[in-house]
Symmetry: C2
DNA sequence: TTCAGACATCGACAAGGGTAAATATTCATC
DNA sequence: GATGAATATTTACCCTTGTCGATGTCTGAA
């Protein structure tokens, strides 16, 4: 078993759900990613960033899209970032988040990949 | 908007994450499914059922696969069932759960579907 | 260097969720 | 019907998490 398994690695390497039972370690890490997406606000944030032109969006735009405080949005973005779903880049005063489409594709493969 | 939108319907009908921003209602329901999978035990349960021959498994087997109490497993199976990910069938004294592969495929399409 | 704006972090609180013990329900068998 | 086995439900506990207000940090401009 890999003691340093990260969410990104777990999602990238493992077989589809339906092929063989997920190991405890892999399940632990994959569930981190799914838990990150398992919140309505974060799911919409992810969708907003991913569907934005260039696959990236400024935090200033994201804040306005919700009826939530700025710290709350910042917190959700951090969760998505730590799960490996968003990349963060600071340009001047502004912060931009970019969707990790490879993570989304790998995660989709784990969930819906055809067995065998 | 659809006031009676269920998780199953939301996952089946909506465009991929990266195509256009998810509506509040859809995000709410899709997040229910993702939240259901966003737990290590439930993820392994889902994988155990889906990878089992015939795509179904008996609760009696599932209980033995974890170091958790029977009510806890039963609770997790209920969450997966209510999210539309598992179907339940009682045969005699035993309960069998079957994986909704269509849900898994639709969910994968929402997450990893290629935009446009 | 001071100021203002953008974003992150901290601290705290209420709501939600995972867990197990106890109990209930359902079905096959005696 | 009474008993026992397989699951589900109820109740309660504790830890996690979503949220906000206050504060901190960093950057560009004056």
């Amino acid at each position: 078993m890999n003691p340093d398994l990260t969410p990104v690695q777990a999602v990238a390497c493992c077989s589809p759900l339906a092929r063989e039972p997920l190991s405890e370690e892999v399940a632990e890490q994959v569930s981190v990613v799914l838990k990150a997406l398992g919140d309505p606000v974060r799911l919409r944030l992810m969708s907003l960033v991913a569907s934005h032109e260039g696959g990236e969006a400024c935090v200033c735009d994201l804040n306005n899209a919700f009826d939530l405080s700025q710290p709350t949005i910042s917190h959700h973005l951090k969760v998505l970032h730590e799960a490996g779903l968003l990349e963060r880049e600071k340009r001047g005063v502004w912060a931009y988040y970019r969707a990790r489409t490879d993570m989304l594709e790998n995660l989709a493969a784990v969930i819906g990949g055809t067995p065998t």
